[in-house]
């Protein structure tokens, strides 16, 4: 479809005129789009950060490999080699029971020093897998090695975390979908009112032979404007909120293995998403309402 410049400028003019003419309806659907996109933006930012946290946690999965008490120094170093030689092992770190105890005392206080008389802890290796998803396989392989008492990697906690994430992701998706649908419906209604108000005009246009695209174009533009204008406030609010959250969280998470998503480029990505959502619901909404009026 090649459109003449003056036709295009006419369509732009018409679309703005009708936004102004239907002031209250425009306001209503703009509010709906704004609220929707705001929630979508905040929710998406939250979801993506949760995902990031989940990945961080996943990447930080360690195995505690406990060594039998009977094992002597020679067999401990041979054990270390044996584990290192397994495929998919990233690192093996030895930690004696004395070291373990002193780190316990450090974190829980002097009461723990009672145990210095008779240390109940065991020597262990801390093993990390190259690919965290291989942790389970590695664990079962290590268990079979002689002189290994037990392997622990907190599988229950990890699975629970992933399950929680999965549920909240689904709930979020349903919520966002519902909101998007509502906003689309409102946009489509606004444009329907525009069309009804201009029914006679459209009828005459069709009778004298205006093409379908000619009739449809201003309404599509109107939908796009509603989407874009509705995206402005959410973009501003999400940017402002995320900036503050980022400034607050970033120094506090400095030493943690969990990190919040960097302000840039994340903020550009999420703002682009909000804008795109606005345009899509605008176009879709107007398309739905124009369709049946074109059959003159």
């Amino acid at each position: 479809m090649v459109m003449k410049a003056r036709t295009l400028s006419r369509h732009f003019r018409e679309s703005f005129k009708s936004l102004v003419r239907n002031g209250w309806m425009t306001f209503a659907s703009l509010s709906a789009v704004t609220v929707t996109l705001l929630l979508v933006g905040v929710f998406t930012a939250l979801m993506l950060n949760m995902n990031k946290a989940a990945t961080d946690i996943e990447n930080d999965v360690e195995m505690n490999v406990y060594i039998e008490l009977e094992a002597d120094e020679v067999s401990v170093s041979s054990l270390e080699d044996q584990i290192s030689d397994l495929s998919g092992v990233e690192s093996v770190t030895y930690s004696s029971k004395e070291e373990e105890l002193s780190s316990l005392i450090e974190s829980f206080g002097d009461e723990m020093s009672l145990f210095e008389q008779n240390n109940p802890l065991r020597d262990k290796f801390i093993v990390k897998a190259t690919d965290p998803r291989q942790t389970e396989r590695l664990a079962s392989q290590i268990t079979t090695i002689e002189n290994i008492a037990a392997v622990e990697y907190g599988e229950d906690k990890i699975e629970q975390l992933f399950e929680t994430l999965e549920i909240s992701r689904n709930v979020g998706a349903v919520l966002i979908f519902g909101l998007l649908f509502t906003a689309m419906f409102l946009i489509s209604n606004t444009i329907k009112i525009t069309i009804v108000a201009r029914r006679r005009e459209i009828e005459i246009m069709k009778l004298v032979g205006a093409s379908n695209w000619f009739v449809r174009f201003p309404f599509l533009l109107e939908g796009i404007w509603l989407g874009i204008i509705g995206a402005i406030l959410p973009i501003a609010v999400v940017s402002f909120l995320y900036y503050n959250v980022y400034e607050f969280m970033e120094p506090r998470l400095e030493n943690s293995f969990i990190q919040i998503l960097e302000f840039t480029p994340f903020i550009y990505q999420i703002n682009a998403l909000i804008l795109l959502m606005g345009v899509v619901i605008g176009v879709w909404g107007s398309f739905m309402s124009v369709r049946k009026f074109l059959k003159v």
């Binding site: 006679r200 069709k206 004298v208 379908n212 000619f214 003159v296």
Partner: protein, 228 residues
């Protein structure tokens, strides 16, 4: 020019408005379509500019079957047909000039052409001096003349009118008829559905009478043939 072959139209409520129309209309003819209300006159007219699509049959206009024409081609069909209605269908928020220019704008005519053509047709219908007035400042007859001017602005080969004098007093109706005569004299085919017996019997042309979805009479220089 216009050829209907075995055209049937059944509406979704079951009414058969066309029960096998067979008609040939030559370029430059003037045809009255008469018959009682609800007999199928309007359906006959509406099928010619594809406001209604026949259920069955062929309608050839310049050898193109408009019964099977794709929806997106319909606008281009309509650019060759001028349509005039009983209720004028003018836009009241636009001036007389703008009303005519609008019809040319939406088919993306060049601005220079729009201005030239609009003034030409206003001159033709004798209302050039009222170009800046609003439709509701004009009499019914004048408004109908504007709507005729609009319909010929694009220089169509065919002119279709559905009871164009239905809302006008007798004297004004004659003025409108003179205009149609003039347009027809320039070579445009005119097809006009009407209830006006006096006009049909005075300005003699071909008459097609429709009753119950059937063409019951088709005479050159025919009469209206119905009482009152």
């Amino acid at each position: 020019m216009i050829q209907m072959k075995q055209v049937y139209k059944k509406y979704s409520n079951g009414i058969m408005a066309a029960n096998g129309f067979d008609v040939n209309i030559q370029q430059g003819e003037f045809v009255y379509v008469v018959g009682p209300s609800g007999a199928g006159k309007t359906t006959f007219i509406k099928m010619m500019y594809r406001e209604e699509k026949p259920t069955k049959g062929t309608i050839l206009i310049n050898n193109v079957d408009i019964a099977t024409l794709k929806a997106k081609r319909v606008p281009y069909l309509r650019r060759n047909i001028g349509v005039v209605f009983q209720d004028f269908k003018l836009l009241n928020q636009l001036t007389i000039y703008e009303n005519i220019a609008f019809a040319l704008e939406v088919i993306e005519e060049h601005p220079k052409t729009i201005k030239k053509r609009a003034m030409e047709v206003l001159d033709l219908v004798g209302l050039k001096h009222k170009a800046r007035m609003m439709p509701d400042e004009l009499s019914g007859g004048e408004q109908q003349r504007i709507s005729i001017a609009r319909s010929i602005a694009n220089q169509p080969k065919i002119m279709i009118a559905d009871e164009p004098t239905g809302n006008l007093d007798p004297e004004t109706s004659w003025e409108i008829m003179n205009l149609f005569e003039e347009i027809n004299a320039r070579g445009t085919t005119v097809i006009m559905a009407t209830h006006n017996r006096e006009i049909v019997n005075t300005i003699r042309h071909r008459v097609i009478a429709i009753e119950n979805g059937l063409i019951v009479r088709d005479e050159q220089r025919g009469e209206y043939g119905y009482e009152g």
